[in-house]
C-alpha cells in the first residue's frame, strides 16, 4: 500500500516541475497524475479512516458496538464496490481491446487510466474487507487483531 502512496507522491512532485513548462502533454499528464491520486488514494484514505462519516450516533457508541455495526455496513459497501468493479472491468476491457486513446493533440492511450480505476476498486475492496475482518475479530473476542 505505501508503495502506491510513494508512487502517487512522486507523481505530485513531478507535477510541480511540469507546471512551469507548458507543453502539449503537460495538461493531460497532470490530469492523469491527479486522477491517479484520487483513485489510488481512496484505499489508503479508507485505511486511515479519513472518509467523512456522520458520527452523531456513531461517535457515542462503544468501540465494540462500532465494530459490530461496521461489519453490518460492510454489506452495502461491498454492494457498491463490487457492482462498480464488475461494470468498470467491462468498461476497461473494451477500452483495452480498442487500444483507446484520448483523441487530443498529444493523444496518449487512455486505457491505463481505466486499468487504474479497476485496480483502485480492487484495492478499496481489499482494504474494506481487511477492515471488516479486523472489526469482526474485535467484535467477537474484544481484542484488536
Amino acid at each position: 500500500m505505501s508503495v502506491f502512496v510513494a508512487a502517487v507522491i512522486a507523481f505530485e512532485i513531478l507535477m510541480r516541475s511540469i507546471f512551469v513548462r507548458p507543453t502539449t502533454w503537460a495538461a493531460e499528464s497532470t490530469i492523469f497524475a491527479c486522477g491517479l491520486i484520487y483513485l489510488l488514494g481512496g484505499a489508503w484514505t479508507l485505511l486511515e479512516d479519513k472518509h467523512v462519516r456522520i458520527d452523531m450516533l456513531y461517535g457515542k457508541w462503544t468501540p465494540k458496538k462500532q465494530a459490530v455495526i461496521d461489519c453490518i455496513t460492510y454489506l452495502p459497501f461491498s454492494l457498491y464496490i463490487l457492482v462498480m468493479l464488475w461494470a468498470t472491468w467491462i468498461y476497461t476491457a473494451e477500452s483495452i481491446k480498442l487500444r483507446e486513446t484520448t483523441m487530443s493533440p498529444w493523444d496518449p492511450p487512455i486505457y491505463p487510466m481505466k486499468i487504474a480505476m479497476t485496480l483502485s476498486l480492487v484495492l478499496l475492496y481489499l482494504q474494506g474487507t481487511a477492515k471488516m475482518i479486523r472489526n469482526l475479530y474485535f467484535a467477537l473476542t474484544g481484542r484488536a487483531l
Partner: protein, 439 residues
C-alpha cells in the same frame, strides 16, 4: 414503483446508512447502485462508470489537491506566525487588539489558504496561547479564531467554490472574485463585534503591557518585512488567475511552488514537512473525489429515474415564488448544516436545486456565494460544527465543547445577518466579477 416512493426510499435508506456511521461516499454509492439494479438493466451501470471516469479526469478538480497541498505547506511554513506578529504590533494599545489582529491575520491568510481546518488549527496554535496568556476572556479568544478561520471559505482561493463551480458548471474564477466582497464584509462585521464587545466589557480584553506597546516605529516597520513573501504569494496566485494568464488549476500549481519558496525562505522546509503535506493532500483529495464519484452515480441514476423533474415539480407546486424558493432552500441548508458538513450538503442538494434556481432567472455565481455563506453558518452551527471541532483539537484541555459553541454564537448570528445581506443584494457578490471578467 412511483417516483415519489422511490425518492422517499432513497432518502430513508441514505439517512439510515449514514446514521449507522457508514462513510458518506459508500452510503451514496450503495444507494445509487441498488437503485440502478432495481430500476434499469445492468447496461446503465456502464453509463455510471463512464460518469465516474470522466470525473476522475476533470481538469477543474485538479485545483483541489493543489490548493490543499499549498495550504498544507503554508500551514507548516511559519507564515501564519509572521502574519500574526506583523498585524498585532499595530493593535497593541487597542482593547481587544489581539482578537482584532487575529481576525485580520485570518483574512489575509484566507487569501492563500482555502480550507477552514488549516486556518483554525494554525491560528489556534499561535494566537490562542497569546490571548489566554494576556488574560483575555475565553469566549472572545475562542470565538475570534473559530469564526475568523471561516473566512477561508469566502475569500479566494476556496475549496468550497472550486467544488461548487464543478457541480454548477460555472467559472471558478468568477466565483472567487464574487466571494471577496462578502468575505470582507463578514470580516468587518466580526471586527466590529470585537470592538463593541471590548467596549462593553473592558475586562474581557486587557490591553498590552507598556513594554510591549513601546516598540519603536522602526521595529514595527521591520516586522512588516515579513509580510512581503505571503502577500506577494497571494497576489501572484490570484493575480495570475484574474489577468487571464493562468486557469485556477494552474494558479494553484504556481501557489504550491510559491508556498514551497516561502517555506524555504523561512527555513522551515524539510523532507518531513513535504511528506506530511503530501500525505494530507492525498487523504483530503481522495476523500473528496470518492464523494464526487459517488455523487456522480446517484445523480446519474436519480435523473434517469425521473427524480430531478420530480423534485423540481414539487418545489414549483409549493408555489413559493422565486424568493420564497430561495429562502426555502436556505432553510434546508441551515437545517442540514447542523448535521452534515459542506461536502455532503453540496452533493446532496446543489444538483437538485440548481436547475430550478437557474430556471427562475437567478445567477449561477450569486447562488454559489449564497451557498458558501450558508456553509459558513453550517461550519459554526452546533451540534455538528466542524469549526468548533477544529478549535477544540488545539485548545487547552480545560476548555469544553460547550464553551466553544457559546463563544461562536455571536459570530453565528452575524453570519446569518451577512447571509441575508448577500442574498438580498446580489450586487454585493456580482459587482467584482462583472467589473473584471464579464465585459
Amino acid at each position: 414503483m412511483s417516483i415519489e416512493l422511490i425518492s422517499i426510499l432513497i432518502v430513508v435508506s441514505m439517512l439510515f446508512l449514514m446514521a449507522l456511521g457508514l462513510p458518506l461516499a459508500w452510503t451514496i454509492g450503495a444507494v445509487a447502485v441498488a437503485l440502478t439494479l432495481y430500476m434499469f438493466e445492468p447496461g446503465v451501470l456502464m453509463m455510471l462508470v463512464a460518469r465516474v471516469f470522466d470525473m476522475s479526469l476533470n481538469y477543474t478538480l485538479m485545483a483541489v489537491p493543489l490548493f490543499v497541498l499549498m495550504a498544507a505547506i503554508l500551514q507548516r511554513s511559519g507564515v501564519a506566525e509572521d502574519l500574526f506578529s506583523a498585524v498585532h504590533v499595530w493593535a497593541g494599545g487597542l482593547r481587544g487588539g489581539l482578537a482584532i489582529g487575529t481576525i485580520i491575520a485570518n483574512a489575509i491568510m484566507a487569501s492563500m489558504v482555502g480550507i477552514i481546518g488549516a486556518e483554525i488549527v494554525t491560528f489556534g496554535l499561535i494566537a490562542l496561547p497569546q490571548m489566554l496568556a494576556r488574560n483575555y476572556d475565553d469566549k472572545l479568544a475562542l470565538g475570534s479564531i473559530a469564526a475568523g478561520g471561516g473566512l477561508a471559505t469566502l475569500i479566494p482561493p476556496s475549496v468550497v467554490f472550486i467544488v461548487y463551480g464543478m457541480i454548477a458548471g460555472c467559472s471558478v474564477g468568477e466565483l472567487f472574485l464574487a466571494g471577496v466582497l462578502p468575505g470582507l464584509i463578514l470580516a468587518a462585521m466580526f471586527i466590529g463585534y470585537v470592538i463593541w464587545h471590548c467596549w462593553r466589557h473592558p475586562e474581557a480584553a486587557p490591553p498590552a503591557s507598556l513594554e510591549e506597546r513601546n516598540i519603536s516605529l522602526v521595529q514595527k516597520l521591520t516586522l512588516q518585512k515579513k509580510l512581503i513573501a505571503p502577500i506577494s504569494l497571494a497576489t501572484g496566485v490570484l493575480g495570475s488567475m484574474y489577468l487571464g494568464i493562468a486557469t485556477p488549476s494552474e494558479a494553484a500549481g504556481v501557489g504550491v511552488l510559491g508556498a514551497i519558496v516561502t517555506a524555504v525562505i523561512n527555513r522551515r522546509f524539510n523532507w518531513v514537512v513535504l511528506r506530511d503535506s503530501c500525505y494530507e493532500t492525498v487523504k483530503i483529495s481522495a476523500m473528496l473525489s470518492w464523494l464526487f464519484f459517488a455523487a456522480q452515480t446517484i445523480i446519474g441514476a436519480y435523473t434517469l429515474a425521473g427524480g430531478t423533474t420530480f423534485v423540481q415539480n414539487s418545489l414549483k407546486a409549493m408555489n413559493l415564488g422565486p424568493w420564497g424558493t430561495i429562502i426555502f432552500m436556505q432553510i434546508i441548508w441551515v437545517f442540514l448544516g447542523c448535521f452534515l458538513d459542506w461536502v455532503g450538503i453540496l452533493f446532496l442538494t446543489v444538483p437538485l436545486f440548481l436547475p430550478i434556481v437557474l430556471g427562475m432567472g437567478f445567477d449561477n455565481v450569486w447562488f454559489g456565494v449564497v451557498f458558501c455563506m450558508n456553509m459558513h453558518i453550517a461550519y459554526l452551527s452546533p451540534p455538528f460544527a466542524p469549526s468548533a471541532f477544529y478549535m477544540k483539537s488545539v485548545s487547552p484541555p480545560h476548555i469544553t465543547m460547550m464553551q466553544i459553541y457559546i463563544a461562536t454564537l455571536p459570530y453565528l448570528w452575524l453570519t446569518f445577518l451577512a447571509t441575508i445581506l448577500v442574498t438580498a443584494i446580489p450586487w454585493l457578490s456580482l459587482w467584482l466579477p462583472e467589473l473584471l471578467l464579464r465585459h
